[in-house]
Amino acid sequence: MGELNTAERPLAPAPSLRELFFGMLQVALSAFGGGLSAWSERIVVEQRRWMTDEEFLTGLTVARLFPGPNQINMAVYIGANFRGLKGALVALAGILLVPFSFLMLLGLAYFYLHEVESVGAVLSGVVAAAAGMALSMGFKIAGQYVRDPVAVVLATCVFLALNNFHQRLIPVILVSGPVAMAWYWPRRGRAGARP
């Protein structure tokens, strides 16, 4: 990684709108095989020196905390930091242009071809594997909550409300959110139930 070298090199001047667009385009293109987050760090921090590692990590924290897809939020964070709203929209366009166009082409192909028998057969396999990926999402983050009984109760209630009682997502979040926030509100003297 050569962290020492990167840390010693001075930061580049704030990127222009055009540089933001092409930087994010480069991130999206490099990440065509996956690993968007790693590529984003490599290009923004190591190659282009727009941010320090620390600033980048702060950005990731903000991107994960707020609603929206994490990697897209990260692009918005980078753009907004340098050029405000305009920068955010330009960075967004840069990171979305290629993968979204590709997906739209894939979608057109799908809607034209999905009734072809062999295409349907291949898809029936792909779908089963993709469902496994969806199933793994919860397990992936479960480990950090199992020792906090309140978190387990909250997660269970949310799960039951959605799955067993067929409640809609927005009301479930609007009810459970304030309850959870009140419980986890930072208080002095309580060695928080932080996972």
Binding site: L36, Y77, G107, L108, A131, L154, L162
Partner: protein, 205 residues
């Protein structure tokens, strides 16, 4: 019933009167995506079950099987899988022809991204004032368990949507296990399962 009908009527306004109900319809769809945007906790996959209920049950744009297909495509394609909204928009207007489908796809994606992007801009610019606030701490800690509960519900929903045979369930559970225990790229699992499906070994029913 679709996103594009009102647009189409607007284009042909000279010969076809625009029905107010259609505009209501279009606005309702856009509102659905705009309002969901700010509830996409944990990176966006938490919305998948909601997308299913909107696209399959509420507006009947696509069938449940097609939803499973579209989800798989979005996972397999490069870039964030939350771009599935673009494919849903496309499905919504497919009957109106590919051009409308494309426009509708772009409109749906823009609607789901706009609110969260605006909030993210404000958050980015005011983070230094924000980061030690008790609201931030409570939000971050509180939303974690909620996200966990939603993700389990979403995983189960997708599983029920995608799989109808014991073998398909077996493949899904195996992939889930491998996703958690190995670092193998999921593209390999989807590729291999696709080949098995093509050979007729994994079928939908």
């Amino acid at each position: 019933m679709s996103l594009a009908i009102p647009l189409l009527l607007a284009a042909d306004a000279a010969c076809e009167p625009v029905k107010l109900s259609d505009w209501h319809n279009l606005l309702a769809v856009i509102w659905d995506f705009l309002s969901l945007s700010l509830f996409s906790l944990g990176g966006g996959n938490t919305l998948l079950a909601e997308y299913h209920s909107i696209a399959v049950h509420k507006y009947r744009w696509i069938t449940s099987n097609q939803f499973a297909d579209i989800y798989a495509l979005a996972e397999a394609a490069p870039g964030p899988s939350s771009m599935i909204v673009g494919l849903l928009g496309m499905g919504a207007a497919w009957r109106e022809g590919p051009l409308w489908a494309l426009l509708s796809g772009i409109a749906a994606e823009a609607a789901i991204l706009l609110p969260s992007t605006l909030v993210m801009v404000v958050a980015s610019l005011s983070w230094s004032r924000f980061k030690d606030s008790p609201w931030r701490v409570a939000f971050e800690r509180g939303m974690g368990p909620i996200t966990l509960g939603i993700l389990f519900a979403v995983g189960l929903k997708i599983l029920q949507t995608a799989d109808h045979t014991p073998l398909a369930y077996g493949v899904s559970v195996l992939v889930c296990f491998l996703m958690l225990r190995t670092k193998i790229s999921p593209l390999w699992f989807m590729g291999l399962a696709g080949v098995l499906g093509g050979l007729g070994w994994i079928s939908r029913y």
